[in-house]
């Protein structure tokens, strides 16, 4: 039998492309973390200098902690803020409204995050519109920029649309008979929510939280422009290290630590989502 050229025409492009331009770059980055840097020149080698240097710095661990904590807070916050909205979209509106709402939410997910953060910078400023409005009511002004609060506003801008979409899809997929059964058996709304609806939508809720974590963990725009980059997060550390000349191997160390963390979190979350399901 001759080789099926048709089949490989469709299968091979992805393998070749990802090997060349996805796996290749990531592998080079891993290799680079073991290279030697002398007098601002990199030479391929296999030494642990960069790892030693990065791992022994307290600023690295400070950044690690800040990034991890903030990403966790963002994931929890996004899940909590999104849930009532997703609940409303799943159960309180018609199918048409839900379709349009999801349609609308997809748009900002793909629409210039950078400009939206700039808009927040203006909105949240000391003399900006929000403080001006609050001032009419005799409150404020609050300094909302260059703080953890500012960073969180940015993270929510980034992740909320996606989290709501994931949660809504999952909630809307719940078998309505299940909910009605709970009602008919005399379960209170709160009990129905915690014992029926949330367990049934568990996968969507966890996946939403994971995406919120991943996106916040890797983002540099919000902590930089709204958080004032103090303390710096890991992504800000990567940028500073990369842009300051030939320190790429050090930046690679930070990057690998980030990927490992994300991998561990993702695996743990998928385990929690699909693992032992309480009946």
């Amino acid at each position: 039998m001759r080789i099926d050229g048709y089949r490989y025409t469709w299968r091979l492009p992805l393998i070749v492309w990802q090997a060349l331009f996805f796996i290749g770059p990531l592998m080079l980055m891993v290799a680079m973390s073991f290279w030697l840097v002398r007098n601002y020149r990199m030479t391929p080698d296999f030494v642990f200098d960069n790892w030693d240097r990065m791992m022994s710095r307290s600023f690295f661990w400070d950044a690690y902690e800040v990034t991890l904590v903030r990403a966790c807070v963002a994931a929890v916050l996004a899940t909590l803020i999104a849930f009532p909205a997703s609940y409303a979209l799943a159960f309180k509106v018609s199918d048409t409204v839900r379709r349009w709402a999801i349609f609308l939410l997809v748009v900002p997910f793909f629409t210039s995050y950078l400009v939206r953060i700039y808009a927040w910078q203006v909105l949240l400023a000391e003399s900006g519109p929000i403080n001006a409005v609050l001032g009419f009511g005799g409150i404020g002004p609050f300094s909302m920029l260059n703080s953890g609060f500012g960073t969180m506003v940015g993270y929510m801008t980034l992740v909320l649309p996606l989290v709501i979409i994931l949660q809504t899809t999952s909630l809307a997929g719940i078998d309505r008979n299940l909910i009605e059964a709970a009602w008919n058996l005399g379960a209170s709304p709160v009990r129905t929510l915690f014992r029926v609806i949330i367990p049934a939508a568990k996968v969507g809720l966890i996946i939403g939280a994971v995406f919120a974590f991943i996106l916040s963990f890797g983002d540099f725009v919000s902590p930089f422009y709204l958080g004032g980059s103090k303390p710096p997060t890991l992504s800000i550390l990567i940028i500073d290290t990369t842009k300051s000349g030939q320190q790429w191997p050090l930046a690679a160390v930070v990057a690998i630590m980030m990927i490992v963390t994300l991998f561990v979190v993702a695996v743990a979350a998928v385990g929690a989502a699909y693992g032992r399901r309480r009946s």
């Binding site: 025409t9 469709w10 492009p13 519109p129 649309p161």
Partner: protein, 268 residues
């Protein structure tokens, strides 16, 4: 519709959650809307009440030669990256639809993984890799990076459409004597056309909007968002609102068209 237990309480609850929904939507869309409003506002540091109406920021922003150059670069990059990632995404989606083979799940994972890698890390890895290949700082480098990042979206859209296709359709074409290539051309591609166009629009939007990796690898050949990033590093500058509004309108149009193309067909 479910209407059990305390209809009155349910009505109040419904009003409450709908109000909450409206607030969340307001939060999500506030930055987009204010940016558009401020782009026509005369104050350098906008607040309420607003200043006067002006097109000044558009005039200054669009009289900068680097903005025009960046737009040209963005256009070239977005169109090329969209073409490449749509082709790649379609080929991968078709492979997933039609064939089973060893390590298929690894193959699919490989296809869908890029968006989960933080952008700064993609930027660093791409910069190092493209520098080795001698194409960092070129538009080719940005196109390559954007294709990697956008292809998974194209694959997802095409796969969705293919899952709506009856496998018997392609088989029927073969039975009628069409070669596999002929069946692809006359059956599969026409069926997937809305998804292909949709994928093209969405991947173009992804590329047009992407600024982190582009910033890392761009060098002197900047795209529009990279120029915005560089203005942003200076000071508060309402020109960003003007350029930003243009960017919003472009990517929103692309995303809306992309979505209309795949949702309209589903109802039929």
């Amino acid at each position: 519709m479910r209407r059990t237990g305390g209809a009155e309480a349910d009505g109040a609850g419904r009003g409450g959650v709908l109000l909450y929904l409206a607030i969340v939507f307001a939060f999500v869309f506030a930055p987009i809307i204010t940016s558009m409003i401020f782009s026509f506002n005369s104050d350098r540091f906008p607040t309420v009440p607003l200043g006067e109406f002006t097109t000044h920021w558009y005039e200054t922003a669009f009289s900068r030669p680097e903005v025009w150059e960046a737009m040209q670069n963005s256009l070239i990059v977005a169109l090329t990256a969209a073409t490449l990632s749509t082709a790649l995404g379609f080929a991968t989606a078709y492979t997933d639809y039609r064939y089973n083979f060893r390590f298929k799940s690894a193959y699919i994972a490989l296809a869908l993984l890029p968006p989960t890698i933080p952008l700064v890390i993609m930027g660093l890895a791409m910069l190092a890799w493209l520098a080795r290949l001698g194409i960092s700082g070129t538009l080719t480098g940005i196109i390559i990076a954007h294709t990697v990042m956008a292809a998974p979206f194209a694959m997802a859209i095409c796969r969705l459409r293919l899952s709506q296709m009856d496998p018997a359709l392609e088989a029927a074409a073969w039975n009628l004597g069409a070669s596999q290539w002929r069946a692809m051309r006359s059956v599969v591609v026409p069926f997937c056309l809305p998804a292909i166009v949709s994928a093209f629009c969405l991947t173009a939007a992804v590329s047009f909007d992407e600024f982190v990796v582009a910033w890392f690898v761009s060098g002197l050949n900047k795209t529009v968002p990279v120029v915005i990033l560089e203005i942003l590093q200076g000071n508060v500058d309402p020109q960003i609102n003007a350029i930003g509004t243009f960017v919003f309108l472009t990517s929103m149009t692309l995303v809306v068209v992309a979505q209309l193309l795949i949702t309209r067909r589903r109802k039929a």
